[in-house]
Assembly symmetry: C3
Homo-oligomer: 449 residues x 3
């Protein structure tokens, strides 16, 4: 392979990166492929390349298609700013704003789409390769993918609050190995990151917010990690979603509202959701569904409180307060050492008069729930016009609340032979004691042997 | 925006970066601002820029003032070396040393200061912007900020051991969003990183050591993370400090001595201190103060032992052994699954003859303390002239110790309705059993039901 | 220091980086050293430099020798692809493969070796400096070190499956401080990373797989972290090994098969193995040996199942099923809140008819084992020709299994005064009840007080 393997989108002779960086990158990829040849001579072959996106605005009208391993696309700035706050500011105040758009090394996703297009057509970066070996070690680092606008979908909601625009940041269609997504910013995309059939994927230290759904691992996969990210989906989507994955490690993430779920696992086995900070405005924060089994949910901090920001009042994910903040349909999972804070207005509980559920086991068997601490507080909901100050106000409010009666653990009859230890008082745990093992958290004033 | 958004401080025509890199960077920022215009046309505007600091020594005599979003300042080396060890080596041995100063992409903070200056004047990087939106996505990456010297403050201590010089590495004065501090080195600053009003801040994978205080989150804030750092403050300061924060995730940090505290939280709620390795020479390692509530302190390793390095013998943080390694004033916190090792010389216990306290609940209610393991050992203190070998010697000493009687958990009468489970024997837990729930760790030879 | 401190191996006048990048880098280091002078004048001195390796194939025939602090070697791609899968594909299918070798910024380790060479001769990067201060802040970032081939060692095994070639990626021979290994790829090396006498080392976010042993911390050391890596050693070696270390933090790693051990600690004290996902095909996943004491093993997910890939059938680490998945020889350790899944074919248990052991305490005293959940399942072993699909199949299989009787905790008589709580039923825990404290996990249908 001759020539340099380092490219700068602003220095490439084909296309105009400001007008269509997609055309530029595709042309660079064609150049890389033309210069690489399959060979086993001298143990060399296809090292790939790095494509650099400097800080600046780069419109993407043409989807980038990647079918080579070892390609790294990197920028110099994740560029997040809150488009949601900006779009909910009255337009006549926009001239007073310091800036109106995200920044950094910024891709403006502007792919022409029609309604009948399949989902992948709206992806800024589309990775697809069949055959052997699986495509490996594609890396995305430290740039911003901005979906620009959400579009009205017939609801009465402000378009900017719909989280609908058929755009995806990065879409990986095939089995892949050792991909790395690091330091990126994703904003205002209906789907930030959609990856099928991942093996040994690393999604680390990204900022993924104000997207419909943030990180979706689809199909099946194994041995991946989603770590140390700041994440917050829209009310329609998932902050982290995985299906049919084994050995997935979800840890050290700070996941903020308003995702319909913080972590949604479907048919996921032998995986970990540990040591995350999770905050939501709705029930169904962490869902283990479709026989998700032998997983460890430990040392997480769950906070569910109320939507404090005026533009989103009345919006939710449709789940009622009996659903559970953590809901498990599956077997042999471990739920150990988590903290749950439920800080809600009792007048808003649904169904009216219900006792909210914190941990719910709906089906399966043999789950182990131990040493979880549930805190519940009844506060009068209030809201504000500033997303930041309203959220901080809500977060720091601990004095005003009265105690709120909750069901710490509810075990459906369809879930059997579970063990529930030190996770709620006798009155707070609802289960068939003949069919499960139970040890109540000792009551105040009691001294256990 | 025309022109390149990538700058190199050694290639900029204004100023001399070796003599005053502050002047150079301020000139670059002025250039960036002059080239950016507020516009909503074409969805473009103010992408920011990246300023590169190559490896080398760059004196900073003029404070850098940042008031634009999406600015990234990056180097090619965090450059830490121990100035503390060097300054405690006799001067006549200095010619034998391989090197005398930190390195990498190194900022030498040399701002002229007078005694009446306010704290922010001593900051190498000062970020301040009012109005809307909040300043966003400023990034610092992979360079070194070196405060050069500590100054005598009238104590009898060697100046290099005072941790006083009125210098700060990075100071953020206003509300900010999505800032990122990654891969940096901070050394010999009175304050390494001082940030007011942070939202979705990431302080990740830095080396912050031999600074008075390391990471201070002041004012209020939310949804931030301090993760995977190597941190060690001076005896006067905090390794990690936060006030009035909600949803803060402090995880995967390795915090070494000799900070007055490892983690100090004041009015912090619904946050996590999980999965850290904490080492200190004094009590008061983790402090939850001023009604810090609903926090999770879990899966941490606490080690408190003795100062082993001769130059610091006799120095401490002033707290006695009744204070607790973990001290909680607040409500509804969870303290679950931590390991505590107290390895001290019983002859040095203060007050003389006291029984040292490991976990202390001083005020509040409803805290949940479960499955914590306390190990205590009485060892003869010894010290050495080499910081490294003395510390390793101390760390690896496990055979020599006798058992040491400690109070695993002490609950003041001002802290009520707490639950203490499996965190100490009957003799090791001091509390009002009528007012709390208590289950002793079973005694050897007993078999619980 | 004059001149630039940023070097590109492809732009340096000495040597040919494609033919011998080792010669090139050594020449660059000589240049750096020639330009640096020890001086305390003006607080400046030896800032080091950065050496850039662009994407491409760079053969290394000459060992790189590093004896200066603050050197950063960085590339633009970790370049992992599975050489193991490729070499186990029949050669006549190779022309159909998209690529045959790892890529990115790739070092091809091709050092001439003879059998009598000592281990360090086979290292691509050799770091050695005596005297004071310790060498500091050497950084390796985002490139690939490829050992190319394993060699037959007289076994009947396919050479590619032997994990033997006497090559090491990075070898640090002396005491060192604040080193940083980040974003690297290591593949097909007998030893990926061997570091003696580390202080405040960070090994973070790397991909270390298909190496004999992956991360070895030898000699002694302290206050380091191994975090957020994807790791998988060969059947002969360790994924993570440490000896005589204190204050080591091993967290957020996803460690996959087939290492002889996932984490092996020898004489390690006051350290943490927390929050990792661990997967192995053999017993002896986490071993605390040689009086490893006061460590915290918490919130980890352990999975032991069967080798599913045809080429490795019949290969193992030689340990039988009584060894334990976690085996502890040491005192005062904490084992809290872990999940263990043992998914094996009962017909393959060794010794035949034995009851497999999950947690075993072999010697020492005062260990605390609480709130661990053990799941065991008897499945018929099956295997496949594709490593990926066979592993995923195995990982997702939860339905087919019958229950399998296991000993959740076995305490040898040589290990005394331990506390075992809620980690197994009465029948599943084997210990001397007079000499330990024990509380069984409550049985189904029982309700504890």
């Amino acid at each position: 392979m001759t020539g340099s393997n380092r490219y700068d989108v602003t220095a490439w002779p084909v296309g105009d990166p400001a007008e269509d960086v997609g055309e530029v990158i595709n042309s660079i990829i064609a150049d890389i492929k033309g210069r690489q040849a399959v060979t086993d001579e001298n143990e060399g072959g296809k090292p790939g390349a790095v494509i650099y996106i400097p800080p600046g605005d780069f419109r993407l009208r043409t989807q980038v298609v990647i079918d080579i391993s070892f390609l790294r696309i990197e920028g110099s700035g994740h560029g997040f700013t809150s488009s949601s706050i900006r779009f909910n500011v009255p337009e006549d105040e926009w001239p007073d704003l310091h800036e109106l758009w995200p920044g950094g090394s910024r891709i403006l996703v502007d792919i022409p789409l029609s309604e009948e297009d399949e989902e992948s057509k709206g992806a800024a970066f589309y990775i697809e390769r069949s055959g052997s070996p699986r495509i490996s070690s594609v890396e995305f680092s430290n740039f911003c993918i901005d979906g620009l606008h959400f579009n009205p979908d017939g609801s009465e909601m402000h378009p900017a609050n719909t989280y609908v625009n058929c755009k995806t940041g990065i879409y990986v269609a095939n089995a892949n190995d050792s991909f790395r997504i690091t330091g990126m910013g994703f904003v205002y995309l209906e789907h930030a990151l959609t990856i099928y059939h991942a093996d040994a994927l690393s999604v680390h230290d990204n900022f993924v917010a104000e997207c419909g759904s943030c990180i979706e691992l689809r199909g099946w996969g194994q041995a991946s990690k989603i770590t140390d990210n700041l994440i917050g989906a829209g009310f329609k989507g998932h902050s982290i979603y995985a299906e049919n994955h084994g050995g997935l490690l979800i840890t050290a993430n700070n996941i903020f509202p308003r995702g319909a779920s913080s972590v949604y696992l479907k048919g996921v086995t032998r995986s970990s959701v540990t040591n995350n900070r999770l905050h939501s405005f709705y029930p169904g924060m962490v869902v283990l569904e479709a026989n998700s089994s032998e997983n460890l949910v430990a040392s997480n901090h769950f906070l569910r409180d109320h939507e404090p920001w005026t533009p989103f009042l009345g919006v939710d994910n449709g789940l009622d307060d009996l659903y559970g903040l953590l809901c498990v349909s599956g077997s042999q999972n471990s739920v150990i050492g988590n903290h749950f804070s439920e800080v809600i207005d009792s007048q808003s509980i649904r169904p009216t008069g219900a006792t909210p559920v914190i941990i719910r086991l709906t089906a399966g068997s043999g789950n182990y729930v131990a040493s979880n601490h549930v805190v519940a507080m009844d506060v009068r909901a209030k809201s504000g016009d500033s997303a930041f100050s309203a959220q901080v106000d809500a977060l720091l409010t601990t004095e005003a609340g009265d105690g709120l009666a909750v069901t710490a653990v509810m075990v459906n009859t369809e879930s059997v032979r579970n063990t529930i230890l030190d996770s709620g008082s006798d009155a707070q745990v609802v289960l068939d004691k003949a069919d499960n093992a139970f040890r109540a958290t000792p009551a105040i004033g009691s001294k256990s042997a």
